[in-house]
Symmetry: C2
Subunit: 382 residues, 2 copies
């Protein structure tokens, strides 16, 4: 199977190199920017790839919704399999691409878009054929995990942890999408679509790690708790689901505590299989390229889709899931949620809430911040 | 695809029930013992299944090499796909079955034979198509993990931990295969065959947990170390590999420490993917049945094999892998391996060796035991 590659950056180069040694796969043309086709295997127009009958499949690793979406449509319409690592594309246009691929009888797979090298979506999409997935979640953002780990194990400040992550290439110059939880949120959208046939497109909640401080890290360490940024998706009723991102505190026996540096840990709970936990590198050239290649090998085996072409776009409902929270806020601030205990540390207090709806906690945090107070919160892991 | 089931015990019942709700699969006849076919869907002769043209695939969950092997040959020869959870069968006859399946153009898959519900072999067999696996291993025996965990977290004696495991159905009345590491050894044979195309059939080393005591658990706890029974397989040169089972000690940040109760944790290291860690229930009706069903769904997708039909049977070489060990033996006994330090505790001493070949440690333990001394050893985790 000859595979064209769209994009020749970090991941694109990795995919191209891996294609040279993969069983049953050969590298085809690589799409680069106009005027940059300075080697025989490079082309600078998508039309050349769509019209090339020797190309059986296309791997897109450019990122961003456009022009990736137009390119995807062009090659799918030309009857070529389409594989992508682009979570923004799949979160925005996944259902459309799944329907188009089905119509054309070709594959649409996107393992690399969620969990990098971790074979999360691949395994879930196979499991749903015979099992019922009851929960998806885990640590799906390596940048924030690196920062949380650096702050908690090495005692770094938030600013130093971020600078460190940027120096190592784990965080971008503008880290907003990672630290606010937006990147993780896109990934839980994809995971829900695969696991439940429902993609949450509104009503989601996301709390990142940008309120977490060295003082919080020190306080939690004394309690024997480790903070991780966790995504969670659970079906609610027949047509909805809960889907959110928030920091969660774990006791040291939890597998989440052993997820160090920029690793990812995805989990799902199947009614029959029970808990399945998958851990690995969430990003980087070779891990991400290996996930793209796994999808391509899977196409040779005969697989065609991981998102049901009839996937429903739904509004998330985070009011039905209850959690206890640990909330840090100024001593004098008031938390309008039922509290079980509180502890004053310096000018702040840590309030432990009773079980409250996830949506209520996120709304309360927004309200308190609007009033000008700084606040951090994390769910108590179960 | 209509699936016949061979065996109607714990797992067989689970497979049969799951087939009723699986996409693209329907339950066919179930093979039971002669004279026990007391319901319409049960049959008591393999010939009836081999001759049934409506049966497309057969799932074998009886265990044991015979008559499972004869049955497997009969249905493969009849052109039916064959899926099994039977590690003894695959360890003894895997290469023959793989060759026969290839000849007949049908599938031979055995995910459930290694790791229970953990999708270990499945993912590796897909990964090898585009990546190079450099290491396989992990915790692949749930019975011993349950016992080790009970002794270390709950302070149970070996005898009480075993009794507990038997009461819960995790250990058999004769627990020898589990506690001596034999069961884990069979699984590493399968994992090596899938990952490296080489199956170690002699020269393996296995040390189980039957020498581990409550005193060892207490001693290690003070050191902040957790003991797990670990399998390991690594290619050696062009034609050999190391393959062994032994207790290993881990610092508390290692993922192995978070594997509690009877869970399994498999890992492989791909040259491109990096470390991939998979955790889940290693046994039990539904987890094992879900692995069988995953293979069956995979056949519908088009997959045909996970063990290369040209797999080579080789002699393992454990002399090339070096490890440091912690060895407990009587104060007066002598360890003929280079030691870095030792600590006397009561009538025993704990000796910490320099790096020594794995095979040398196992041979030395055998020698000391032949001399009548009791000894426990565990590698220091890396």
């Amino acid at each position: 199977m000859k595979v064209a590659v769209l994009g020749f950056g970090t991941v694109g180069y990795g995919v191209y190199e891996m294609l040279k040694n993969a069983e049953g796969l050969t590298p085809g043309p690589v799409l680069v920017r106009p005027g940059k086709a300075d080697e025989a295997f490079k082309v600078d127009s998508i039309e050349a790839i769509a019209a090339d009958d020797s190309v059986d499949a296309v791997a897109e690793v450019m990122g961003g919704v456009e022009p990736a979406f137009s390119y995807a449509c062009a090659v799918l319409k030309a009857g070529k399999h389409f594989v992508t690592s682009n979570k923004a594309l799949v979160a925005a246009k996944g259902p459309e691409l799944a329907a188009l691929a089905k119509e054309k009888g070709v594959a649409f797979l996107f393992s690399a878009a969620c969990g990098g090298g971790v074979p999360f979506l691949h395994n879930m999409s196979l499991a749903v054929q015979s099992d019922t997935i009851e929960l998806v979640g885990g640590i799906l953002n390596g940048t924030t995990n690196y920062m949380l780990d650096a702050m908690q194990r090495r005692g770094l400040t938030y600013a130093d942890a971020l600078a460190d992550a940027q120096k190592l290439g784990y965080a971008e110059a503008d880290p907003t999408a990672d630290v606010t939880g937006l990147d993780a949120l896109r990934k839980i959208m994809l995971a829900c679509a695969v696991a439940f046939g429902r993609m949450p497109v509104e009503g989601l909640n996301n709390e990142g790690i940008d309120s977490f401080t060295a003082e919080d890290a020190e306080y939690l360490k004394k309690k024997g708790l480790t903070c991780r940024l966790i995504v969670s998706g659970v079906p609610v009723g027949e047509n909805s689901l809960s889907a959110f991102v928030e920091p969660v505190l774990f006791e040291k026996t939890a597998p989440e505590c052993s997820v160090l540096d920029n690793f990812n840990m995805a989990r799902y709970h199947g009614k029959c299989s029970g808990d399945i936990v998958l851990m690995g590198q969430g990003a980087g050239r070779w891990p991400t390229a290996s996930a793209v290649l796994r999808d391509l090998s899977d196409i040779i085996s005969g697989r065609r889709y991981m998102m049901d072409p009839d996937v429903k776009c739904v509004c998330a409902d985070n009011s039905a899931v209850l959690r206890k929270y640990c909330v840090r806020l100024p001593k004098e601030a008031k938390l309008s949620l039922p509290a079980e205990k509180e502890e004053v540390v310096g000018d702040n207090k840590y309030v432990y809430t009773a079980e409250v709806p996830v949506s209520a906690m996120h709304a309360e945090a927004e309200k308190i911040r609007k009033d000008g107070a700084k606040l951090f919160f994390a769910a108590i892991g179960q």
